[in-house]
Amino acid sequence: MPTTFFGWVGYLLDQYGSLFLRGTGTTLLIAIVGTILGFLLGLLVAIVRSIELDPRASGFKRALLKVAQAILGVYIEVFRGTPMIVQATVIFYGAQQVFNIRMPQMFAAIFVISINTGAYMAEIIRGGIISIDKGQTEAAHSIGLTHWQTMVSVVLPQAIRNIMPSIGNEFVINIKDSSVLNVISVTELFFQGKSAAGTYYRYFEAYFIVAVIYLCLTFTVTRILRFIERKMDGPDSYTVLGSTNDSHANFTVRKEG
């Protein structure tokens, strides 16, 4: 048996390397799928919550929209106002006891993370939509684009670019907070660390490994997101085609700063 701290770290890695690796994979999978689904859910919620009806719309349409918006408001309040660990247990065990449905752990994990993320994303995206200058929408309407076309072609591309840092935040939070899903026995990284720790009672070493893996994940993901942001900004330069003297001359102008 090893006698030093790093001896034990090495020993646990050797014994449970594949366990940690599988846990890491599960954590990443839950975080990625949960963030993407949560984003799409949030997008839908934010769009519905930002609809302004044509004043000619009928009373029925108006009432329907009001009801839908109220329900979405409640959804956001409930899922932002309760801890995810509680949501996970209520949904997982609730489904089992009340409806007699036994959800597969993975399904439950992604379900919980998605609707939890969706509630936060809805508010982030709504903020992004509001932050876009009203003139953009007015210009789109003035050439005849509908609300939906304006959203898809003009407002959302700018809004999503602006909220990329917040979306990245949510992703990083999901990598870390998916650890609470160990309460419903999802075999993510923290759960696997717990298993590895229990065998030899080496809690410090096992959780140290877990901590380092989490840090590596979040560090890498943050860098990747920065890269994506820069890609979204497009090239800093553009080419001016032709000049007043020579129509074949091209030159490139670089953005200042």
Partner: protein
């Protein structure tokens, strides 16, 4: 002669402030009408009501005799035929110059990408911006942006263009380039409604000058008549300040 745009009894309030009080107004085909008046007199609001960016509280706006607020009237089609140029340009920041001029053609008029591009290029050349088709709005000067905005509006082949103080947000040295584009347009027989503080432009280009004061149109006529022989004390006062 049939009026392209006719405004009857138009009223609009923001809260308790009545901005438009019973405005009557017509614009005929191929005419350039300049709307002048002090800030807060309701000029921009009138233009925005015509384009339904503001919903009027009362009265009606007729386009070729048809009420634009009636249920069966297609607003996207109306917007395609009545374009607008804004004080703050409002180019789509996420799109290049070329894409700015293509978006409406493809989405609203259902034109192909190729046809939209050709048409966009035609108008970008007209406003002298064909060299900058790959630039993003934030890379352009104010005058360049406004010229692109004019090309974007023209690319929809509109019957009427509304200009809402198109040169007010520009540095002085860029005002000329935009005005000269507008002057060229006026000669093509496009119907134009121009809210402006450029009295020189109004005098040279407009067929009709309209003076708005406190939510109503108080004087209207040929530029020489309105600008050189004002009837009301308010217009005299206004002209004394701006000329």
């Amino acid at each position: 002669m049939e009026h392209v745009i006719e405004v009857n009894h138009l009223r609009k309030s923001f809260g308790s402030h009545e901005v438009l009080k019973d405005v009557h107004f017509t614009a005929d085909k191929g005419e350039v009408t300049c709307i002048i008046g002090a800030s807060g007199s309701g000029k921009s609001t009138l233009l925005r009501c015509i384009n339904l960016l503001e919903i009027p509280d009362g009265g009606e706006v007729l386009f070729h005799g048809e009420n634009i607020q009636s249920g069966k009237f297609s607003l996207p089609q109306y917007h395609a035929r009545v374009g607008m140029v804004f004080q703050q340009f409002n180019l789509f920041n996420n799109l290049t110059v070329l894409k700015n001029c293509m978006l409406g053609q493809m989405k609203v008029l259902g034109r192909s990408a190729q046809e939209s591009e050709q048409n966009a290029m035609r108008f970008l050349e007209k406003v002298g911006m064909a060299q900058y088709i790959h630039a993003k709005p934030k890379q352009l000067s104010g005058g360049q942006k406004q010229r692109v905005a004019i090309a974007r509006a023209l690319a929809m082949d509109p019957e009427v263009l509304l200009f809402d103080e198109p040169t007010s947000a520009l540095d002085p040295e860029m005002v000329g380039e935009v005005l000269s584009v507008m002057q060229d347009l006026a000669r093509t027989g496009l119907t134009m409604l121009v809210v402006t503080h450029e009295m020189g432009f109004a005098r040279e280009v407009a067929h009709d000058v309209v003076f708005m004061d406190d939510g109503v149109i108080t004087e209207r006529g040929a530029p020489e008549q309105v600008l050189l022989h004002p009837q009301t004390p308010r217009l005299k006062e206004f002209l004394a300040k701006v000329l």
